[in-house]
Structures are given as C-alpha cells and as structure tokens.
Symmetry: C2
Subunit: 426 residues, 2 copies
C-alpha cells in the first residue's frame, strides 16, 4: 500500500488526497492532546507551541495542591528542587543526550551565556591562542547579543566572526575557540549539518555549542552522536511547554566538573543547603543552575515533555517535511501567478519544521490570513513564516491554508486598487 504524499502524487493534488494523507497519518491521534480555538489553523508553533489539553490541570496541581496545600514543604515533597534535573532527564532522549546531561532552567540567552563562558574558560586553559567565536550573523540575533555582551565583559581578545551558511566551514580554522550556531535558521528554516560542522570544529581544536530552539521536539537531534560539547534551547516552541517556559542546557558529561559557568548561584553549589560562605561548584550538571526557578512555569513543562516523549521523532520529522512539501507543491500548483517565493530549502532534508515565503505584500497577506484564523507570522521586510508542528497540524490544514491564500490573492487583495496599481495585475 502506498500512502499518498506530495511526492508520489503525479497529478494535481486534491482535497481528497489531503483527506487520505490525514487518515493515514500515524500521528493524527496527538491532535486531541491539544486545545486549539475552533476554526483556527495554527501555523506558528515555531514561535509559541499550542496549549496541551492537560495544561490547566497541571497548573492547578502546582498552584492549588502543591503551593496552596503543602506550601514550603513542596520543595521536598513535590520535588521542586529536583525539577530542573528530572525534567532535563525527560528532555535528554529527545536531543540525543544522556541522563545527567540536561537541565531545564532560566532563559535560552542566559543559558547561552553560561555555556559560552564555560567553553571559553576550557579553551583559555587548553588553547589560549584561540580567540575566535564563529556565529551565523543572520540567525536570530539574541545569541549574537549574548556573545557580544560576554566578550565585552571579559575585556578579552576574543573576536566574533560572523559567517553565513556556506561560509561556516571555511570560517572554522585553528584560530577558532568556539563554534556557536543555531541548528535551524529562525527565518528560513534551513538546517545546518551538526555532524559535519561539529567534526570540523573538533578537527580544528574548537568546541561546538548548538542552539536547538527550532530543533528540539521538531526532529531527532543527535547531540552525543555528533559529539557536541554544549547546547541550549527553548521549550516553548515544538515542545509546547507554555509561553516563556524555562530553557535548557546540555553539557556533555566529559566537560562536567572540568569547567565552570560563571552565574554561580546557590542552586549550582556542591552543597546548596550547607549555606557555606564561599562557592564550591557542583561537579555535575547542577553546576549549570543558578537560582530559584519559576515553579509554576517549570511544572507546566511536564505536560509538553510527556507528549513529546510519546511521539516518535522520526515520524514527527517525516510528517513536518511532508506538510512542508505539500504546502510548497500546492503553492506551485494553485498560486503560481501571485509571485510567492519560497525562501526555505525546497529539499525537505535541508529544512526544519517551517516554510518561509517571501512576497512584497507579505505583511498584508499575513494579516488577511490571520483575519481568517489562519495564524502564521511575518518577519520584515517581506517574509511570511508557516510552521508545521506535526503533532497538531493536518494535511487538510495545509490545503485550507493554500485555498485561503488563493482566495486572498485572487478575490480580495488583487481587487484592491492600491495593490492593482502597485503590481499592475492584469
């Protein structure tokens, strides 16, 4: 039996084809684990994941049954103090890490500060002549800002070298201390080759830090198979842990106890409840912790991670690629005349879980989609992003999105004299 996909259907794709794809989708049962507003097609899970149906019950449990009833005792009886580690262990297999290598804590940027400082400290001891940090300048800039802040604070000779995708391999040489890259590009969705880049970095004596904000939960990630040194990421996109839910840190076992991150709070102390005057670092992943965590938000991660852990990440990746392929193909078939330009890789193996489409009227088009409850987002100057979270987006959602796009272009936007004049539509 052959399953219909955008790849193996040779005639124009129909509504019925999409229905068939949904019927055969091995992940279709996950849709019921999320609550989305009726009639909404949510294509922005690459920015904020949807709400799991169990989220409120979990929040109620933390607020009422833990905080309200057990008060201060909850730190012990409900494992609040261990939550950063226990949830880290839950997340670990999703990113190819082992137990004891991941904690959930703080924000992605603060976590990047920690691991970049820890990596530079390792290098300062082993190879002080290495002064370069290779980053991708066009990616989401908060990582750049963080690195710039650290370099300025250190007042050191470190230098950030910004390279774009095709320049990265060339930029990694003997002068490089750390390669610090986001695996999936926030705008185009393009995936970097973690294996090859990490290997190149190691061959040059550099350490590799990966930002997994747009990868974790969207595709299998193989940190240890790639021998990555450190990683950070967020849990509020494809892991559906809630708005601004705490980020995570991965530190390979071999580096734990060998270096130290500098945001040295009591949660990272070897004996936090001894209240010693001076800092002594924990020798394990706990050293990556700093201070008290927002327990209600952290507790919500339990729900998102539980769902993610039960989904087969190979299937998740396969489906999100199939959704993206379908979207691109339908755009080609049904919207060819409207001037959309797919700026994500058309080759799904090089693409994360989103498709970015450029159009001079992108802002107006996205507004029109949102007015129909089809929610993607827009990034200046002209890029619309469509995120295909495999756990709650269907093939029919993609069909309906393209029908809406076609309708907007043909029957609404292009009827507007302003646009007619601007584009000289015939």
């Amino acid at each position: 039996m052959t399953v219909a996909t955008a790849q193996n259907i040779t005639t124009e794709i129909t509504f019925a084809d999409c229905e068939q794809m949904d019927a055969r989708d091995p992940l279709r049962h996950f849709r019921a684990e999320f609550e989305l507003p009726e009639d909404t097609i949510y294509l922005n899970g690459n920015s904020l994941g949807a709400m799991p149906a169990r989220a409120l019950a979990q929040a109620r449990n933390t607020v009422i049954d833990q905080w309200g009833k057990d008060l201060i005792r909850s730190w012990n009886t409900h494992g609040w103090f261990q939550m950063a580690e226990t949830l880290g262990d839950r997340l670990a297999p999703l990113i190819g890490a082992d137990a004891g290598e991941v904690v959930l804590t703080d924000s992605t940027g603060i976590n990047l500060f920690k691991v970049l400082a820890a990596a530079l400290k390792l290098q300062a001891e082993r190879a002080p002549e290495k002064t370069r940090i290779v980053m991708e300048g066009s990616n989401f800039p908060t990582d750049n800002y963080t690195a710039q802040g650290l370099v300025e604070l250190l007042g050191s000779k470190h230098e950030i070298v910004f390279a774009e995708e095709e320049e990265i391999a060339r930029a990694i040489d003997e002068r490089v201390a750390v390669v610090c890259l986001t695996q999936v590009h926030y705008k185009s969705g393009r995936v970097l080759d973690m294996q090859a880049i990490t290997e190149k970095a190691h061959n040059c004596g550099a350490l590799a830090i990966w930002d997994l904000c747009h990868s974790a939960g969207a595709m299998p990630v193989a940190l240890n198979d790639c021998a990555a040194d450190f990683a950070v990421g967020c849990t509020y996109k494809y892991l559906n842990c809630g708005p601004g839910s705490p980020g995570f840190i991965f530190a390979a076992k071999r580096h734990q106890g060998q270096t130290q991150q500098p945001l040295t709070g009591w949660w990272g102390h070897a004996a936090p409840f001894a209240f010693e005057r001076d800092y002594r670092p924990a020798a394990d992943i706990r050293q990556m912790l700093s201070g008290t965590q927002p327990i209600v938000s952290l507790g919500l991660c339990e729900v998102g991670l539980d769902i993610a852990t039960r989904a087969d990440l190979q299937q998740v990746q396969q489906k999100s690629r199939a959704l993206g392929d379908l979207f691109i193909r339908l755009l080609d078939e049904q919207c060819a005349e409207f001037g959309f330009e797919v700026i994500s890789p058309r080759d799904a193996s090089r693409r994360g879980s989103q498709v970015a489409v450029a159009h001079p009227e992108g802002y107006a088009i996205m507004q029109a989609l949102i007015a129909r409850n089809i929610v993607g987002d827009f990034r200046a100057p002209d890029v619309m992003r469509f995120g295909f979270s495999a756990l709650y987006v269907s093939y029919l959602d993609v069909w309906n999105t393209v029908q809406a796009l076609r309708h907007i272009m043909r029957d609404e936007l292009w009827q507007n004299p302003v646009y007619q004049q601007r584009h000289a539509v015939t």
Copy 2:
C-alpha cells in the same frame, strides 16, 4: 482608646488579649485573600509566601484565555512583552522607587550578577582604583557566590571584603567600589540601616546595591530616599507571587543609559523586533532584561502585587513587629524554663518580619511543631525561624504557637528519656 499590644499590657498576656488584638487589627481583612490549609499556622512566609485565593483564577486566565485562545497574539494583546515593566511599575512604590526604575525578571542571583557587573563597569570608568566589594559573609550566601563568580570571570583585581554587621561601616572606605548588602538578614531577621550605609558608601565614592529579598512587601523600603544605586529581590516571600516567581531589579534613573549589564539578550535591545545583528542597549530600564520570561509564573505576580499594593506598608511593618514582640514576650512568660534563645534583635525597630530562636533541640522542636501544622523552618545548627507575614498571620496564631511550644517542651519532648538525659531536666 488604647489598643492592646505586647508593649502596653503589663500583666501576663492572655488568650483574650490576643483576641482583642486581632479584633482591632486594621489588616485583618487581608486574611480572606489567602487560602491556607485548615488548622495550619503558616510561619514561613519569609521563605515562600502563602497562596492568594485568586492565584488559580489568574493561572487559568494566562493558560486558557491567553495561551490557549489567543496563542502567539497574546504577546501583544495581553501585554506579555511589556509585563516585566508593567509589573515592575506596580512593585516600584512598595520599595520607594519610581515608575520606569523596576522590572520583574529572571532570578535574584542572575539579577544581582547584572547590577553588580553594571556597577563595577560604572566604577571602572570613574574610579578604576577602587577594587573592593563589601558584602556580609554570614548572610544568605547566593549573593556571595554570584559576586565570586563575577570577580573570577572578570579575572580582575577586584576583591570581596566580607564584613559582619558591626564591621560594615568600618569596611567602607576609599578602596571600595561597591557595597552589596542584603537589608534584612535571612537568619536573624536583623535590619541594616540602608540610609546610613548608603550615605557612607557614597561619601567614599562607592555605589550601593541592596538585596531586598526579606524586605520587599514586609516593610516600607525607601530606595530613592536613601539614594540607593541598584537593588534586587524576590517576589515569592512577602509579595506572595508564587514559588520561584521572577525576581526584580531596581536601577536608579540616573544610572540608566550610563552603564550596561552584560547579559545582553534581545529583550534588552533598543529595538528588539528589528532583529539587528549587533547589540544596541535600550537606554532605559529595559536594558536590565535579557530573554523571554516564564509568562505563567510572571502573570501570577499580578495577584500578589495587587494585594501588596492595597496594604499599607506602615501597618504591615507595625503589625509584623507587634506579632514578633508578642511571640518573644509569650516565650519569655510561658517558656522561660526551656532554654530558648532569641537571636533576632529584641528591639523591633532593628528586626524584619521574622523571629529566630536558637535551641540545641531546635530541629526536633520544629519537627514537632510541623506535625501540629505549625509551619516554621529550621536552619542548622540550631536555629528555628518564625516568619510573621502580617497579611495572614494573626495574634491568636502567635498565642497558639507558643502554647504548642510549651506543650511540646513540657509534655512531649522533655518526657523522652533521650532528651531528659541530654538536658538533665529536673
């Protein structure tokens, strides 16, 4: 009409006296705004504040009505992106700050890292010869750890000078760059003189950073009247914002735009949504922000701050002093023979909102209290802490606590042969 207090009753205090004090307590109506388990006397608000009755409704609102219904749009429509500032403005009057001087974000330790680094940067430009940081070694150690981590990271000539209360004034001299102190001692509850110490610091050309973890919400704090430079603190103790709720940062207006904190994430950028490659600091309090905040936990702060804002902080301080005075007096009157030693200042004007009592069997005694649902806590080697949060602790709660202590000492603990032998009770 004279209100009965532990100060103006000359005979032994009775149950009826305590009833009368409660009846005349101007803050008594606030008790209904909190949900505490029945039969629990909660004396640990100095560690984790009690749950406001509206907490669950607030969490439901953030989870269901915002995240669930409005999804990504909530960042704008529900003000998520401004919440750090809007809640900071709500908190500001409670600590003697102005609007635009406070943000709610991150953890206390990470916030201390930011402001200490910002203060040292200011001093490095103005008075690079100043190399000392004065701290109180015996206070809650996470601030020490943070300063130690920063100094080590800077690889600089800075030196942390640990001074205890009576040594602090002497320790502040021309060599000092920054004085970094916690106003209320986490163990003894002793209050430092913010006004005098800040003035001494300024007279010596030093900057003053105050940690308000045990002050905010418990007493009037006058940051601007004292001309404090920076401050940090938590919201989960006397502000009742929930377990691990985000901390806060105060930066005096005069320093904003004049220095820079080094955890430079996109939330602190002058134009966060321009996605520029390079960091440009916001010139206002937003520069103290780093990355995306845990919105569910942050949203809960709304409830705690709303209550705190409606309470008169003078009355809060007055009542918590009166509760502490009553507790000490009842201990003296009813438990004199059991060897309790009050290690908090007996002078209420020098005490925060808690009373610490040392006893060689402190651990066992606190366990026995907790078994009776009277919840304080214990700090090794021998200190029991009793927190008197004025918004939900009553005078009768204090009475009942001392009755329980008396019963434990006379009828339980002292009947145990182990204790009899150890203390040779006659």
